[in-house]
Structure formats: structure tokens, C-alpha cells
Amino acid sequence: MKTDSDEFRHILELTKAITQEYLSQNIGGNINYLKEKIKDFLINPLWNNDSLHQLKNKIKEFDINDDKAIILWKAMEETFDLCHAQHLKNKSHIYEGKVRVYEKRVIDILVEAGKIKGQNAVFGSIIGYLLLHGSLTQSQLRELTGFSKGAISQTLKILSSTPAIKKEPLEGTREYIYTFGANMADVASNIGSYKSESNELAITFLKRKVQELEKNKDKSGYEILSKRVMQMINFFEYNVKLLEKIKESSFIKELKGDNT
């Protein structure tokens, strides 16, 4: 260890001087407190800022008394807060402190819910953040989700082809802003995969298959497959009627808040 001590001799002398100075000025001074502060000062990049040293020198030059120090600190605090508010305005998509923890929890359960319907995590996260924030750009979504540019871009491409997501150019930039089209009432009343459109789509498709089957009446398998297809068509038709009935019910009107 001798070599190390020689190598660091100058640093250790400075350490000794600082420690002695601290202990002489602070009777019963806490040595661990000093160690912590010095360590933070040396390794935290925050203290590498040149302006910080200029600030310290400037305040020293003023040689202010205690009362003035309180006034100065108050003014400085206002400046801190103003800068923070401006930062938040520029980064309005980044929520503050503990709110971000809750935001993450909400996103996690939306992603899980999406998985039930077969959506992957990127898909679920993007929908979740758009639902929460309303509108976001691709780079904001990247910052929020942590997913790669490629993954986000690919998913946004798929989502933009659906009527649920609106894609508009962001004025003064080369970016686009994505907005989730549906409002909360729609989301709340969404029975998702059971919408009448998906039933109607199934009916159209299956009816086409019935026509194809009709051309093969004498073939083996015709009877059983046509019977099964007809049973499905009847069922989907029943669903369409059922959903219409439900849509007109006071229950749904109450849910959508338009029962006035």
C-alpha cells in the first residue's frame, strides 16, 4: 500500500487539510457526514458544472449577512421552481415522481389485458400511453415505453391503419402526433371482440363459403361442413340482433350517459 500512498500523496494531504479544517470548525463534527459529502462532491457529475463553482465564488464575494442569505435563498428557490415548471412544460408527457409509478402500474395491467386478446407488450404499451396521455409523438412514446424505434414505428404503422388512431403532422416539425380516437366512454363500454362488426364480417365470410360448398354438393364432407357453417351463421346472426337489442337498452344508454 506504500506505493499507492506515495502516488496519492498530494490528494491525501488535501484530504487531511479539509478534514482538520472541518473538525476544527465543527466541534463534535460527524466524520461520516463529511465522508459522504466529499464522496458525493467527487463522484456526482452534478458538481462538475463550472457554473456551480462560479456561483459559490459570487456568493462569497457578496459577503452577505444571515437575513440577506434567507432572501437570496428564497429568490434562488423561485428560480429553481420556474426552471422546473418550464422543463415540465417542454416535457409534459413525463409525469412527476410517484405519479410515474402509478402510471407504470396502469400501463402494466393494460398490457396484461391486451395479452388476453393476443396483443404483444409493445402494442399494449402504446395503446395504454395513448389512452392516458391523449396524444403523443413517436419520440415521446419511445421515451415513455423504452421500446426500440423500430418496434414503436412498426406498431404505430399497424395502429394508424385502424380508425382508432389518428395520425397528424406536428406543426413546425418533421414529426407526427398520434391520438387515440376513442374517448373514455367508448373504452368503458367497449365489449371489444364482441362488436357487431366482427359478427357481420363472420356472416359475410361464412355465407361466401356456403356458396362455394353448394358447388360441391355431391362431394364427401359437404353435408357435415355445410351444416356446421349454417349453425355458425345462425349464431352470428343471433349475436347481431342481440347486440342491437343491448345497444338500445336503458342499461347502455345509462353507461354512455346519454339517457336524458
Binding site: 415540465l88 409534459s92 413525463i94 409525469y95 412527476e96 415522481g97 410517484k98 405519479v99 410515474r100 402509478y102 402510471e103 402500474r105 396502469v106 395491467i109 396484461e112 389485458a113 395479452k115 388476453i116 386478446k117 393476443g118 389512452l131 392516458l132 396521455h133 373514455m184 373504452v187 368503458a188 363500454s189 367497449n190 365489449i191 371489444g192 371482440s193 364482441y194 366482427s198 363472420a202 365470410f205 361464412l206 363459403k209 362455394e212 360448398l213 360441391n216 362431394k219 364427401s220 364432407g221 359437404y222 353435408e223 357435415i224 361442413l225 356446421r228 357453417v229 349453425q231 355458425m232 349464431f235 343471433y238 349475436n239 342481440l242 347486440l243 343491448i246 342499461f251 347502455i252 353507461l255
Partner: protein, 169 residues
């Protein structure tokens, strides 16, 4: 006796199979389970051997999925041949659709528990965090979801009951 499908009929069945593989209520289900279920939708009655020929899955996988389908009351054993081969049948294809609808209800119930837990935690901390940026958005969103879930569940229950009546008809 399991009826063979002629080539033309088989092609039509393949189209229906593809359509049902992507049918929204079936999304998220295990591929092997979904594949076998869809063949019961189109064919009504099948043996393990026929399923192996249609799907290419191992006997073990087929046997496992058949047991799963039986435990869900989606299919039943309808006959055993003299050689001991069992025929399984799905009485009506709509059973498969109604069953997937119940899965959706279960999914929403789990979602409801999670969202209510978040809502309770936020309420406990509200005083400390209500001035933080983004709080209002999260608070409103969580409350809107928590309020909507009972309605959604009620709605799904209504549909499910109607469907069960349909099944009985």
C-alpha cells in the same frame, strides 16, 4: 365412422380454419388448443388418429388438448370402436364461441381487481401526491376505468345469459 373430406371440401375447410384462427374471441388462446378446437367446429366428430393427420401434432399434445376440451365441456366421448379407438364430438359449434366469451369475463374480472388495487393505493397517498404533474390524468383515468368495469361485467353477463338461452333452444 369419421367422414373423409374430399379435396375441394378440404380447401373450403382450410379457409374457414384460417378465418377462425384469427377470430377475435379466440385470440390469445394456445395454438394447439385452438387448432384442435377449430377442427371440432368444422368436423363435429374426430378421433386422435384423424386429429394427428389433420394437425401434425404429437399424440401427447393431442391427448392433452382433448382432455382440456373435455374438462371444459366443449367435447365429449361419443363412441369407442371394437379396436378401442375413441370418437370425440362437439355437439354444436357455438359451444366453442360461448365458452370463449366466458374467458373474456374472467379476463375483465382480473383487470377489475388490479385497477381497484391501484385506485385504493392512490387514494391513500392522494394528499401527498395530488400536486405532482400528471396526477390529475392518472387519477381520472383510474377512476373512469374502475367505474366502468362493473358496467362492462354487467353487460357481458347479460350477453352471456342470452347466449346460454340460445344454446338451450
Amino acid at each position: 365412422m369419421i367422414e373423409e373430406f374430399n379435396d375441394e371440401i378440404r380447401e373450403i375447410e382450410k379457409d374457414i380454419f384460417k378465418f377462425l384462427m384469427f377470430y377475435s374471441l379466440f385470440i390469445g388462446q394456445k395454438t394447439t388448443f385452438k387448432t384442435i378446437k377449430i377442427y371440432f367446429i368444422t368436423r363435429k366428430s374426430l378421433t386422435q388418429e384423424k386429429l394427428q393427420e389433420l394437425t401434425g401434432f404429437s399424440r401427447g399434445t393431442i391427448s392433452q388438448e382433448l382432455n382440456e376440451l373435455i374438462s371444459m365441456n366443449l367435447i365429449e366421448k361419443t363412441s369407442i370402436s371394437t379396436t378401442g379407438e375413441i370418437t370425440y364430438s362437439m355437439r354444436n359449434p357455438i359451444i366453442a364461441f360461448i365458452h370463449s366469451f366466458s374467458d373474456l369475463t374472467k379476463g375483465i374480472s382480473g383487470f377489475a381487481d388490479s385497477i381497484n388495487a391501484i385506485k385504493d393505493d392512490i387514494e391513500k397517498e392522494k394528499v401527498m401526491i395530488e400536486n405532482l404533474h400528471g396526477f390529475d390524468k392518472i387519477y381520472q383515468f383510474v377512476n373512469a376505468l374502475a367505474n366502468a368495469v362493473p358496467f362492462s361485467l354487467e353487460l357481458i353477463k347479460k350477453i352471456e345469459n342470452e347466449l346460454l338461452n340460445y344454446q338451450d333452444e
